[in-house]
């Protein structure tokens, strides 16, 4: 087990290295950050000064070496745009994205699992057909479009929910006292106002995932119901609910866990569109803004964090596999 973990760790290191090289070369190929950031009436002298100030006057490989040397010491560079440490910028935005992503995951499971289970157990009922049709809508409509529709209906027409932004936030400590909502890591799910701001973006982000969970669950249930052991359990006279929730459920969890795990990562990584439509101040909005102005330190730091996140999630998914399904043995992979 330890050997396994250590090996995964070493592999992770290589992945992170490869990532940083790709980003360096990629951003270099896309364009020149100074062209984008500099005032259009800046003259040559000012341009050259800016290039030097951002460390872009060195050859690319030297820039990369400088970056590596600093990265080893825990410094991922300063944002070209904000002149703040890239890592700090990202960590500041992280809670907003995390709570949105977890909110969406939560919605997708509490909505998706029961609906999928129902559709799988009664595949021919009209309700199931409606569920399946609905799930198709869930992943065929472009996110940005659904987002705007949600805003138009629930904020502009009905006025039930705030249109955009992240409402009041509190730190976890603040929750206890209900007064100190200004220090520490800020979470908006701790206040009613914050929750109301979160509802629409979380749902928008969850739509695709809900459909995915519904379909995976249904497919799994239908398959499992025909398995010999389920037939046997039924024949034994076990109650339908016990069959469903113990025998069937346990088996369909594997693909669902894989995909949900994977999707958690991609939800965090790709919440870009939702965050931009709902003006949600998370990492996704930061990265798209950074890409637009080629703020390389932020792009690199962000991607390194995301890679680490993915590696962790994949590790957890693999570990969960081995617990859920004794047939998959981690050790045997060596």
């Amino acid at each position: 087990m330890t050997v396994y973990l250590v090996r995964r760790l070493i592999q992770a290191l290589f992945v992170v290295l490869a990532m940083s090289v790709i980003v360096f070369v990629g951003v270099y190929a896309i364009g020149d950050p100074v062209e984008i950031l500099i005032s259009p009436d800046a003259d040559q002298i000012e341009r050259e000064r800016a290039v030097r100030a951002l460390g872009l006057d060195l050859p690319l490989w030297q820039q990369y070496l400088v970056f590596l040397t600093n990265a080893v010491q825990g410094d991922l560079g300063r944002s070209f745009v904000f002149n703040e440490p890239a890592l700090k910028l990202i960590l500041q935005r992280m809670p907003a994205t995390l709570e949105l992503a977890f909110g969406a995951m939560f919605l997708s499971i509490i909505i998706g699992l029961p609906l999928g289970l129902y559709a799988g157990l009664r595949p021919n009922s009209p309700a199931s057909k409606t569920i399946m049709a609905g799930s198709i809508l869930g992943f065929s409509l472009p996110t940005f479009w659904v987002g705007l529709m949600l805003i138009m209906v629930f904020a502009v027409q009905l006025g039930w929910l705030p249109s955009t932004g992240r409402g009041e936030t509190c730190s976890v400590l603040g929750f206890v006292g209900l007064t100190s909502c200004s220090s520490g890591t800020q979470w908006s799910f701790l206040t009613l106002n914050g929750l109301s701001h979160m509802a629409m973006p979380a749902l928008n982000l969850a739509l695709f995932k809900i459909s995915l969970v519904i379909r995976l669950t249904r497919a799994g249930v239908r398959e499992t119901m025909l398995m010999d052991y389920v037939k046997f359990a039924r024949a034994k006279g076990l109650s339908p609910s016990r069959v469903t929730f113990v025998h069937v459920f346990k088996n369909i969890l594997i693909p669902v866990v894989t995909v949900v795990g994977l999707e958690l990562g991609s939800t965090i990584a790709f919440s870009v569109v939702t965050e931009s439509v709902f003006a949600w101040p998370g990492m996704g909005k930061l990265i798209i803004d950074s890409i637009n102005v080629l703020d390389r330190p932020v792009i690199v730091a962000y991607l390194m964090i995301i890679v680490l996140l993915f590696i962790t999630i994949n590790l957890v998914v693999d570990l969960t596999y081995s617990m859920l399904d004794p047939r998959v043995r981690l050790e045997s992979k060596a």
Binding site: I38, P40, D43, N83, G165
Partner: protein, 531 residues
């Protein structure tokens, strides 16, 4: 509930009006604004960027202010004059206090100017405004003199770009200190109390302000970059003002009784740059003959071709159909009334038949093929405009393909002269020498000219006039030189001007906003509506 001075007394006469006032004042304590472009820093000297300047203008002030028509008006300086051709003297406003209580003096001005070139990591600094000054002389606490090596007429204009900071607070401050609000201490009518990078800034009224009292106790300044979401936030009543109103929503908002629009013709020209780098006997990268083969020459070097391309464009149709009226057709960089506006320049008329004749005259009776490039995320409706021009050029026989790219990839390629024709914009300072020097002058590193001359237009006559004007201390003569330079460049079609954008803000009923032609969305320009 706090009432504003005299107004409350006058209105108590009628009950209905009193109720109206009550309602407007209840909301008047706090206002929420939503802007479309993110502010990247509260350090007023870190990054030359309109959104940053707008916020800096709320917290800090300048020696020379500009009013909503971009005319220079007294700010922290009450008057300024030329003592001798190379010396400018500024008299400073007495009894001005910074947010921390410190008095404003000439020391602060000298410190600010010294800081401009020394902001670490600045991606676009303000150093250009202190570079012409060779020596700063503090005559007394409220008088300061700037010595320049050569006569420099633009110094007051430069001072409209420099926000003054408190020497004591900012002596060792970094950009981080400004962002964390520790150093964000100015003399403006609001002070910043909350700053969440790229998300929101919250201002509070500064009660000891020297001038007109800020209308709101508190202003939330939010950044909503998505156009539709910004409009939706206004319609839902979550924000009281939005800037950069999308043109697609204009017609609808004009009909809405709960919304008022505040608009003015701006200083930003949208124009087409053309390839002047390749000489007449070489190929331009995206120009071919009608069969897609190299043409063997660069038709854009022929003024008749350039004129034909300009005449083929129906600017009125673009303004009406694409911009939904939010622009004015243009034949030059600046709108009427601004220093350096060329009054006797022929209007850019739409004449497709004349364009075809000119093309034939130039040796292209059957036209040629060209690609028109442009950004798709930079200027209002940029990718729509180039498509419309593609239609119009194709109609006179210049078969046009159109390609739009994100600014990040577009601007670098345009700067390397990789395009034959491209759409771009230019936001001018309110002085004709500004576009002349940066767009139309021959690229010259030593003089700092042609910084955004991406087509590489070059005309010795224009250069000579510009050079004269930059050393001319007589304003009337200087304006004549600038006008003449611009007239020559425009007649020569150094660029193809399209339209000048209208700047539009939308407020909810009960609010009023002073539209500025420099595009800045400043908190102090939002007020409760007068009744």
């Amino acid at each position: 509930m706090r009432h504003n001075s005299g107004r409350g007394v006058a209105v108590t006469t009628t009950v209905a009006a009193a109720f109206a006032l009550l309602a407007s004042h209840a909301s008047a304590q706090t206002a929420t604004m939503a802007v479309g472009a993110p502010v990247t820093s509260l350090d007023p000297h870190y990054h030359q960027l309109s959104p940053n300047n707008a916020v800096a203008d709320t917290i800090f002030e300048r020696l020379v202010n500009t009013d909503e028509r971009a005319r220079m008006v007294p700010g922290l300086a009450t008057e300024w004059r030329v003592v001798e051709p190379t010396v400018w003297e500024f008299k400073l406003r007495p009894n001005v206090r910074f947010h921390n209580g410190n008095a404003f003096t000439a020391e602060d001005v000298a410190f600010t100017l010294a800081r401009l070139p020394n902001v670490p990591n600045s991606p676009s600094s303000f150093a250009a405004y202190s570079r012409p000054i060779s020596r700063v002389e503090i005559v007394d606490p409220l008088t300061i003199r700037f010595h320049t090596p050569e006569p420099y007429p633009l110094l007051p204009l430069d001072m409209t770009n420099v926000r003054i900071i408190d020497k004591e607070t900012a002596e060792h401050a970094t950009t981080d200190d400004f962002n964390a609000l520790r150093a964000a201490v100015g003399t403006g009518s609001y002070r910043a109390v909350v700053h969440r990078n790229g998300d929101r800034i919250e201002f509070e009224r500064f009660n000891e302000y020297w001038g007109e009292r800020a209308p709101f106790q508190r202003v939330n300044y939010r950044m909503i970059t998505n156009d539709a979401a910004r409009t939706a936030a206004l319609l839902a009543g979550d924000v009281d003002l939005i800037d950069q109103v999308p043109t697609s929503d204009l017609a609808n908002l004009r009909r809405n009784n709960n919304v008022r629009l505040s608009e003015t013709v701006g200083l930003r020209l949208v124009f087409l740059g053309l390839d002047f780098l390749r000489p007449g006997n070489e190929n331009s990268p995206f120009v071919t003959d009608n069969d897609g083969k190299p043409l063997g020459r660069n038709p854009l070097q022929d003024v008749r071709v350039r004129r034909a391309l300009s005449m083929a464009i129906d600017r009125r149709a673009i303004v009406e159909r694409i911009m939904e009226g939010a622009a004015v057709p243009a034949n030059q960089f600046l709108p009427e009334g601004v220093f350096g506006y060329v009054a006797n320049l022929a209007a850019a008329s739409y004449d497709p038949d004349g364009a075809k004749r000119l093309l034939a005259e130039a040796g292209y009776p059957n036209g040629f093929r060209i690609q028109l490039n442009g950004p798709n995320d930079r200027y209002i409706n940029d990718s729509r405009i180039i498509q419309a021009i593609g239609q119009m050029w194709t109609r006179i026989g210049v078969r046009t393909t159109v390609e739009a790219q994100p600014w990040a990839t577009f601007v670098g390629r345009a700067g390397r002269q990789e395009y034959s024709a491209f759409l771009i914009g230019w936001g001018s300072n309110p002085d004709g020498s500004h576009p002349l020097r940066n767009i139309l002058a021959t690229v010259n590193r030593d003089r700092g000219w042609g910084s955004s001359n991406r087509g590489r237009y070059s005309n010795p006559q224009v250069d000579a006039l510009l050079l004269q004007s930059l050393g001319e201390m007589d304003e009337a003569k200087r304006e004549q030189q600038v006008i003449e330079g611009m007239r020559i460049a425009m007649t020569d079609v150094g660029v193809i001007p399209l339209h000048i954008q209208t700047n539009i803000w939308a407020v909810r009923r009960g609010f009023e906003f002073t539209a500025r032609n420099d595009e800045l969305t400043r908190a102090q320009d939002l007020r409760p509506a007068a009744r």
